[in-house]
């Protein structure tokens, strides 16, 4: 039986530029290639800069994960220079990163992922009264009346009847893979719109502490937002009240809209609990320290490794076991392209060997992506909410166990269902619920400390470069919305001499390594994966979106000598 070559480029509703190629056979995916098609070279640009500026440069790697690189960078510099961040600084960073993750996951579900499961046009057939009844059955959310859903339906009908479908143009509407009844579709469309308003509101927490979003400001050694209850220009009671209200609104939406919607949608797609599993290896670096960032035992989400879906054993994480390969990437190593290099020794010499654009296929080329291939102990690793929740679950984390058990029970599936496209999407919801609760705890802790008179947000001891050693190196981790992130910095005479990031989407979107092992996207696409209509590849979108790709994050480069040499060989 001949295989059909299918290309999906651009993959939309993600961050950045991703190309997926597959070979389909008898309605299944037989082989897959994931290619990142953008390269910017930001780390190269950081050569020779002030390490205290590094957070701003690395932050611009991604405007979706807009705080994660900044915090990881601050931690790397603080590790290198042995700077202790005041507890308030850590709490504020936790609040910022926690809200980022909550907001990011909700946006992902409604605006990036939902249209893979929700047929917008079908919502026009919904009965608003029946939709209201459905919604009331699921949640006490106030916007559940039939007049409300009538209004949403009217608005949608007006939009569709205008003939200009805008962002909904050429969607795969009517595809047989859509399973939701019209009422569930209408409810989801209503919440798609509500989530647009909600995300704008709750992210203002970043604006209060960091001045703006996207790209709020950070500071090596703490945070710049001073606390003074008796001044108009600082964090004061008015600001704190605003933050607290936002946190409550965030939690309410998560518990009364996102979580019920997630379970309701999932209940119609339980077949996807056996599709798209992939590598079966999961890595979490852990996140949300209660004390110093390097006090790994204090992390709310624990770190660890799960191999081959074995939830009975969590292996310790050791960043020394991370290595990057370029066998299938458009780079070359001085020690040979099949070698693996730890980020401390990382090399980047871009060498494009793909076809001259415009091209049709990349799958016929040995090298096919700007992504490198990170491996842990030579194994490909999936990172992200599913990895974090599996590591937490397997580590006996009470909060994670409680919410995961609730989800599995409500869907009436076993723990094996987690190793799938649906499991990935559900784990994101589990994590969001946990963090929405945790935000309140961090807020209470911050207020409690201010009450006792501790308002310090910044440690000035090592601010002056005169206090630094002539050489230093540091590692900054962070478990971001999309997964495990690492920043490695080397400092010489007060300047950055080497900077390397290994990023969630590099792990997940990595191409094949020297052993021929696929990266997690590719492995998931060939794991019991349907593709019914190659012209309308909605199934590919479901699995790829379940990872929440962030391509700008994944591609980065640093050359130790600071010179980028590029050779283009058109084949």
């Amino acid at each position: 039986m001949a295989r059909t070559k299918v290309v999906v480029d651009p993959i939309t509703r993600i961050e950045g530029h991703l190309r997926i190629e597959v070979q389909a056979e008898d309605g299944r995916i037989a082989d897959a290639w994931a290619s990142s098609t953008q390269f910017r070279g930001i780390e190269l640009i950081m050569q020779g800069r002030d390490p205290r500026d590094a957070w701003a440069f690395t932050q611009r790697i991604c405007g979706v994960c807009t705080v994660v690189h900044a915090i990881a960078s601050c931690r790397a510099v603080e590790d290198a220079l042995d700077i202790e961040v005041p507890r308030n600084g850590t709490i504020i960073r936790n609040l910022i990163h926690g809200m980022q993750t909550v907001q990011d996951h909700v946006i992902h579900f409604y605006h990036l992922h939902a249209l893979d499961w929700v047929d917008v046009v079908s919502a026009l057939d919904a009965d608003p009264a029946a939709t209201s009844a459905l919604a009331k059955q699921l949640s006490p959310w106030p916007n559940n009346s039939d007049t409300y859903f009538q209004e949403i339906k009217d608005r949608l009908a007006k939009f569709v009847s205008s003939g200009q479908l805008g962002i909904f143009t050429n969607g795969y509407w009517g595809h047989p893979a859509y399973n939701l009844p019209p009422e569930a579709n209408l409810m989801a469309v209503a919440h798609y719109l509500e989530a647009l308003d909600w995300q704008r509101d709750v992210i203002r927490l970043h604006t209060i502490f960091g001045g703006k979003n996207p790209h709020p400001n950070f500071l090596v050694g703490g945070m710049a937002s001073a606390i003074n209850l008796s001044d108009t220009a600082t964090i004061n009671a008015e600001r704190l009240t605003d933050i607290h209200d936002m946190i409550r609104r965030a939690r309410r939406f998560v518990e009364q809209v996102y979580w019920p919607d997630l379970l309701a949608v999932a209940s119609f797609y339980k077949d996807w609990a056996a599709i798209g599993g992939g590598t079966g290896n999961y890595l979490a670096v852990g996140e949300f320290p209660a004390g110093d960032a390097k006090d790994y035992d204090s992390l709310y989400f624990p770190r660890g490794i799960i191999v081959d879906k074995n939830l009975n054993e969590v292996l310790p994480y050791d960043h020394e076991k991370v290595a990057e390969y370029v066998t299938s990437s458009w780079y070359e190593y001085s020690v040979g392209d099949d070698a693996g290099l730890h980020p401390w020794e990382g090399e980047t010499k871009a060498k494009y060997t793909g076809p001259a654009p415009p091209w049709e296929y990349l799958q016929d080329h040995d090298k096919y992506s700007w992504m490198k291939s990170p491996r842990y102990d030579e194994m490909p690793m999936e990172v992200g909410p599913l990895s974090r929740m599996l590591v937490a679950f397997a580590s006996g984390h009470d909060d994670a166990r409680e919410v995961i058990t609730e989800a599995l029970g409500r869907l009436n599936v076993g723990a094996g269902a987690l190793f799938s496209t649906l499991g990935r999407t559900a784990a994101r919801g589990v994590e969001t619920r946990l963090l929405a609760m945790k935000l309140e705890e961090w807020y209470d802790e911050l207020v409690g400390r201010i009450r006792t008179g501790d308002v310090a947000t910044f440690n000035t001891d090592k601010w002056d470069p005169e206090t630094w050693p002539s050489t230093a190196q540091g590692y900054g981790y962070l478990d971001a919305a999309r997964g495990a992130l690492g920043h490695w910095i080397q400092i010489q005479d007060g300047k950055i001499s080497r900077y390397q990031c290994v990023v969630p989407s590099t792990w997940n979107c990595s191409p094949r390594d020297p052993q021929g092992q696929m990266g997690p996207y590719e492995a998931a696409l060939v794991d019991n994966h349907p593709l019914v209509d190659p012209e309308r590849p909605i199934e590919i979108l479901r699995t790829i979106h379940s990872f929440d790709p962030c391509m700008a994050c994944g591609v980065h480069v640093l050359d130790a000598k600071g010179d980028l040499v590029t050779e283009v060989k058109v084949q």
């Binding site: 651009p10 910017r40 405007g63 605006h111 007006k158 143009t169 050429n170 995300q199 700008a552 283009v568």
Partner: protein, 392 residues
């Protein structure tokens, strides 16, 4: 039910005209409207109103290209408050192509792009985020196997105007900073034959982007621009001249270290590196995220992100500017501040700054009516700046 989007539709046509041209009779069209009335639950008596609504002009087509970028500008625009992103994409424009939000992917997405370009040739508004890498024949960013440059050139050809959103599309931004490994450039270095508006910033404030869009939709042309292509309504004044902390600068009250007593009183951030004196931006006036706050308001110095080459010219970020425009060398800035602090003039200076900010706000608010409503060529009849509009 008739499904209008399945039929080809040319520019300048209302739905009624389009259906008539497609062989759908007036009778069928009215029947469709009646059907819609039922679907909408309005009853047949409201059918004429639906007919009228549907026969109105189409929503303007907007095509948004995302090139070599981080998507922060799209995220910023999604946070817009006035109008909200929901109102924008459902009611005000037809956002026919945008990778982050659009349902379609792959060839279906690319055909949506080409469909929009053909149907709205010469009429659509082209938004661009991200830079264009030119080194190595553009292989550093490709979409659908084509280079960013090729995609941009094709889309720009039929655009009525081009709005470059954010520092990447403006001048290339961080990836164009030394040593610019990919040869990244801004839109205005690729598109020469039509107006290019630069919405500066990394990212820009959402409301500046949407206000520019609304300006175009309302007045039929792009706003007045400065020499760098930035809309005057947003980038006409320095941060330093609009800053609520300016009185502290004039009074010589500076933050010496982060989180010191001065920082906890909201004093001036000039000495810890603020680039406000060299940055034209609406941050202090528009503020960020539904006017919640802005960088200096959160205690961090401005990094000057609305200015070209700020990653090279304004770094290290925490070093103070070598000089402050208008005040001479560094020592002069301090001297002026301390001198003012010595006497009652400090209060006068603070008052003057407050007045300046107030005037800047009034100018900003008045700009739509004062400049844009009046057709080009009739500016001489405008009231003077301090006068009441239309009263003289």
């Amino acid at each position: 039910m008739i499904f209008p989007s399945s039929l080809p539709w040319t520019e300048d046509q209302s739905l009624g005209e389009h259906l008539a041209g497609s062989g759908v009779s007036r009778r069928d069209f009215l029947a469709f409207c009646g059907e819609m009335a039922v679907i909408l639950g309005l009853g047949s008596t409201l059918t004429p109103q639906i007919v009228k609504a549907l026969e109105q002009t189409r929503r303007p087509s907007v095509i948004w290209l995302q090139l070599q970028e981080c998507t922060g500008c799209v995220e910023s625009v999604i946070r817009t408050a006035e109008p909200t992103i929901g109102d924008l994409v459902l009611d005000l424009i037809s956002l026919d192509y945008n990778h982050t939000l659009m349902a379609a992917a792959g060839s279906a997405a690319e055909s949506a792009l080409h469909q929009a370009m053909e149907e709205n040739d010469g009429q659509y508004l082209l938004l661009v985020t991200g830079s264009v890498p030119l080194n190595e024949d553009g292989i550093y960013t490709t979409i659908g196997g084509r280079t960013a440059k090729e995609v941009l050139e094709e889309a720009a050809e039929g655009a009525a105007a081009v709005i470059a959103i954010g520092a990447c599309a403006h001048w290339g931004n961080i990836q164009a900073s030394n040593p610019n490994p990919t040869g990244a450039v801004g839109v205005s270095q690729i598109v020469f034959d039509k107006p290019v508006v630069n919405i500066a910033g990394c990212p820009p404030i959402a409301d500046v982007v949407t206000a520019t869009l609304v300006h175009y939709l309302t007045f039929g042309r792009v706003p007045d621009l400065d020499a760098d292509g930035r809309p005057l309504f947003a980038y006409g004044a320095r941060i330093h001249d609009q800053c609520p902390r300016r009185a502290h600068f004039d009074a010589g009250q500076f933050v010496e270290e982060f989180d010191d007593d001065s920082a906890r009183r909201g004093w001036c951030l000039y000495k810890v590196g603020c680039k406000g004196p060299a940055c034209f931006s609406p941050c202090p006036i528009f503020q960020w995220n539904t006017r919640t706050n802005w960088p200096i308001g959160a205690g961090h110095p401005c990094i000057g992100c609305t200015e070209r080459d700020f990653w090279d010219r304004y770094t290290p970020f925490y070093d103070r500017l070598p000089e402050v425009a208008g005040f001479g060398v560094e020592s002069t800035a301090d001297t002026i501040g301390f001198a003012l602090a010595a006497g009652a003039t400090a209060g006068v200076a603070a008052h003057a700054v407050a007045t300046g900010v107030h005037r800047a706000r009034m100018r900003h608010r008045g700009e739509y009516s004062r400049i844009d409503v009046i057709p080009p060529g009739e500016e001489d009849e405008l009231p003077n700046e301090e006068g009441d509009d239309g009263q003289n």
